[in-house]
Symmetry: C2
Subunit: 238 residues, 2 copies
Amino acid sequence: MFSQSLAPNTTQPAVYLRAPGADRGEELDHGLARASLRKIAVGEHAFLEGAPRSYIFKVESGALALYRSLGDGRRQVLGFGFDGDLIGLGARKCHLVGAQALKPTTLRCLPVPQLKQMINANPGLAARLYEAISEELADAQDRFFNVSQRRAIERVAFFLQKLSHRNEARGADPRVILLPMSRADIGDYLGLTLETVSRTLSELRAKGYICLKESRVVQLRNLNALNELVDSASDDVE
Amino acid sequence: MFSQSLAPNTTQPAVYLRAPGADRGEELDHGLARASLRKIAVGEHAFLEGAPRSYIFKVESGALALYRSLGDGRRQVLGFGFDGDLIGLGARKCHLVGAQALKPTTLRCLPVPQLKQMINANPGLAARLYEAISEELADAQDRFFNVSQRRAIERVAFFLQKLSHRNEARGADPRVILLPMSRADIGDYLGLTLETVSRTLSELRAKGYICLKESRVVQLRNLNALNELVDSASDDVE
DNA sequence: CGCTGAGTTGAAAAGATTCAAATTCAGTGG
DNA sequence: CCACTGAATTTGAATCTTTTCAACTCAGCG
């Protein structure tokens, strides 16, 4: 793929690995279990863009936005870190994304040298990291085409669907979504303005697909319709 | 990052690694040098979406489009494979992207079992693959925000800039770009329609930034202006 | 009880898509 | 070698979507 080898000022990845599943990442879990805890308040950063990568983190509780700043004050949110997620991984020496807490957040911090040691001691861990990061790439691609070629309503539906599936995977209610992030964060994630996000949520409510009691609590009332918005690439669902 | 752990039908990554640089991937090069050659014609596939991952490929000459199909016949082009690029890598058993030749293309084919053997014999190789894929992820993120929050003219400038840098990195003329792909391919890559791509190229020509003698040959006449279009919103942290 | 920041909503403007037509280009067969 | 055919490209005009700018509501908090 040409893009990476061209990118001269390519942005630094922090590489976000998912939380190890049941049969993966035992070593990581083991190391992390003994790692130190750190608490950060809303608005504080786990790490800043450009900061040296000293630790990798596992989110114990709370939520973070992973973003890159643009020159003109705008920013691109690349993802969110929720409890169970690993953040801050990557091959480079510095983070090129920042991780800012959206609510009070607790992190486990594993020093990078220790991670490297673990990898050296256990080559299988490298393969796991590789798998995890290739998942991450797959996800980035998934998000890419769900954003680049779709309308606002489809993007928002995609976003809600992902959160719903995440709940499901964790045994939480897939029909009730708690949003720790603002409309602006969602917009920066989906490539929309905050007004469009708000309007689109209102539109989904008008269609009866969702229910918005509080602005940060979304009830999904018609999961099928949402899924169709995401899956059907161009059949309008009115 | 939540997205990956949610994605239920997450798309399969083929993981696209870049061509090994001067000091990287010697083992890969070594193995590939003895790998078998395969030629494919325009429109043929190196591998189809969903096909089992039997080989990884190095593009010797030619060009391919790496894409995923959408339900309704549209597709998302995730990248292009040019000579020197490695394609088809990834942790999963099947490709979830297809790789279709844009012009007559020659590939080196390295069987996956052999790659695994090489990794086992040389743990350092795994680290290199990890680095390479984290670069790939960084690139995907780069592309992501260059597409999701920008106008057509900025997207096209970004595209041309990348190709220009690629030429530069390879000792080719950074001011002359040969496009092996159609306007539709570019559009599918940038999240635009082919008409918009065409119009935007015409606009860049009208501004005097580029020169289009033939539709597949672009001369960059004002590299600074193009760079400003790209950088206007994204200020790199380095 | 007024502030402040987040969210919602409206209206005008900008930008991209869609549909349609014209033009260029490449490859084929005469 | 040239005309023909189909594909790729360009361009135009109408339409649709999203953004922008602005006003307004609401909840939390000093």
